[in-house]
């Protein structure tokens, strides 16, 4: 009799997901899926509200990356108020937003690596799950854990200084920013917050380099695992600066195929609907985006750190550029399709974010006083951004009363829906095929594949906080096997 294995919830992944793995009578994996609830209420929640409230309101989407939503919405509002498309802000406004964004990228990547990924890497997938968590990391690597906490704190303090409060952050406003950076704050970030030299810009760079070295050391002794686990060819999509540089705040849309050939050639972000389309599938509430021209079968793509380093030509900060060259050389300049190398790419970006924070802090433009740009009002705003987990799309239409009439969001985790499903299946096939017994480490392998993408399901499902999760299971013929609801 065929078996169905269910792993629920996916541990150390935001929100609730459900993985189903279908085995046939010979214990061969026939199909694996990551099921996610998507609650499409948020776009309606925003409709009817004055457009200038959007950058604050959208932070309610997600407790993990509110800054990303704040900035993507603000970029869309820039268009609405005639402040250009990523190029019309005053120097202080753009640089303050960039500082905010790099603070967010930095702290988010640090959280993922130390809190979610490092337990798997430091202890191995077959370690006791009681030990394979952040407490286990602390017990065996206390200094590493303390560094991670201070790195998180540094990023959060940068966000607080640029965006305001953790809730109701108001730093970015339509057309600009509401405050500059004081000299006192600048000096604290450069030399050490509250006089603590461990909370300085240089220390963040040093520790980011150490984290990267830790991963590379792990890679040298676990090459087969990191290179082979859940590896599959794919397209890769991200924003990129017009000159090909990695740019996490603003850029044109570029995508490459598995061989590195450009399949989306630097399209203006305002034309994203010409590039991307979303497919609905019966068994998941989360949509499946794809490159329109290639169709859903061939056009799905990956986003996030791995995709960004596959798409860009260089990184505009010296230490991260050196690490990027090593990263690209590993696959001889071709796109890297190894899911576990998301961790490598993520730490290169962490280093880049640390370098960029320092560079920006040293820029006197941050003390400028010309905060807001105004222009001719229009009825539509589109804001794209490279959030920690990948490309984030915000699109709004506004009526003559300044009220939002349409809102469309494509979040990073949604962009990675198909790749995550493929990673789950690759892991399941590799770990479970032909096995008569399903062990916890084998099931964890599937979760490790998902965690590489750092999915934020609360964000992807537009459902933060407490809401019921409804899961429906189907057999190969499409018949419903089971349906359950549970609280989140």
């Amino acid at each position: 009799m065929a078996q169905k294995i269910t792993i629920e919830p996916v541990t150390r992944v935001e929100g609730h997901g459900k993985v189903t793995i279908h085995l046939d009578d010979n214990h061969q994996v026939t199909e694996s899926r990551l099921h996610i609830v998507e609650f499409r209420g948020f776009e309606r929640f925003v409709c009817g509200r004055p457009f200038w409230e959007a950058p604050v309101l959208v932070q309610r989407l997600c407790g993990i990356c509110p800054v990303s939503h704040h900035l993507a919405a603000a970029k869309a509002m820039d268009m609405l108020v005639g402040a250009g498309d990523g190029n019309g802000l005053t120097p202080v406004a753009e640089k303050m937003r960039r500082l905010m964004h790099y603070g967010q990228i930095f702290q988010s990547h640090v959280l993922h690596f130390f809190h979610l990924a490092s337990p798997d890497l430091l202890f191995g997938m077959d370690a006791d799950p009681e030990r394979r968590n952040v407490i286990g990391v602390i017990l065996e690597h206390p200094e590493l854990a303390k560094q991670a906490v201070l790195m998180r704190k540094y990023g959060q303090e940068i966000i607080a200084a640029t965006a305001g409060k953790k809730i109701h952050g108001t730093g970015a406003v339509p057309g600009g920013i509401n405050k500059n950076l004081s000299l006192e704050d600048r000096d604290a970030f450069l030399n050490g917050i509250n006089g603590n030299p461990d909370l300085s810009a240089d220390k963040m760079i040093e520790w980011s380099e150490a984290a990267l070295a830790l991963l590379l050391d792990y890679h040298s002794s676990h090459t087969d695992f990191l290179d082979g686990f859940a590896t599959f060819p794919s397209n890769h999509l991200s924003l990129v600066r017009p000159d090909g540089a990695l740019d996490l705040y603003h850029g044109v849309i570029r995508a490459v195929d598995p061989e590195g050939k450009r399949i989306v050639n630097d399209v203006d972000s305002r034309d994203y609907l010409d590039v991307v389309e979303e497919e609905v599938r019966s068994w998941s509430y989360m949509k499946f985006p794809y490159i329109k021209e290639l169709g859903p079968k061939e056009g799905w793509y990956r986003v996030g750190p791995l995709a960004r380093l596959n798409v860009c030509d260089f990184i505009p900060s010296p230490k991260a550029q050196a690490a990027f060259e090593q990263f690209r050389a590993y696959t001889k300049g071709k796109p890297n399709h190894m899911s576990m190398h998301y961790h490598w790419a993520r730490l290169i970006e962490t280093l880049h974010a640390a370098e960029m924070m320092k560079e920006l802090l040293l820029d006197p433009d941050l003390q400028g006083t010309d905060l807001v740009t105004k222009g001719e009002r229009c009825g539509e705003g589109i804001g794209l951004l490279e959030a920690p987990r990948g490309t984030l799309f915000h699109h709004y239409r506004v009526n003559e009363q300044d009220l939002i009439t349409m809102c469309n969001l494509i979040v990073s985790t949604t962009n990675n829906n198909e790749p995550m499903n493929r990673a789950v299946n690759a892991a399941a096939v590799a770990q479970m095929t032909g096995k008569a017994e399903i062990t916890e480490p084998m099931m964890n392998a599937v979760e490790v594949a998902i965690r590489a993408y750092d999915p934020c399901l609360s964000c992807a499902t537009h459902a933060m906080g407490q809401m019921p999760l409804e899961v429906t299971l189907y057999d190969a013929a499409g018949a419903v096997l089971d349906q359950q609801r549970k609280g989140m």
């Binding site: 150390r12 959280l111 906490v149 953790k166 933060m464």
Partner: protein, 160 residues
Amino acid sequence: MNSPPSVLVYGFGNPGREDDGAGVALAERIRAAALPGVTTDSNYQLNVEDALLLSEHDIVIFADATRSPVDHFNFYRLQPDASVSFTTHAMSPGSVLALCSQLYGKTPPAYMLEIGGMSFALQEGLTDAGVENVEVAALFLLELLRVGSVERLEEAIASH
């Protein structure tokens, strides 16, 4: 004269989901009272760096909404929860307390103030019942916080 204890009141939840914002509203209410020695913080959820914040205070009081039926609010002592399985980016109060203990060798007395919530739909603002529950809980907490020492505060808390 003894300086007042360093008390942190930390409200967490999502104000965009009606009564899920009760903890945040309570923290705001306490902040407005400007009591000596009392600091407040708010966030959508708890995270690893909050362990450092906890280590810097004598007493910590977490505030969050609850779906459980309570008479306005529920208040109890928290224990470090080192056995917790970390399932999301977010952390529970007990797990943050465990982190604080493991990383900094400190376990400040920590309490959980659960405020009754009626509705958690995607909408700004508390329900009428949520507003009432926050007010009742805030009055209770303000009365506690107006005592002048860690020992007396601990005694007062223990008596509830």
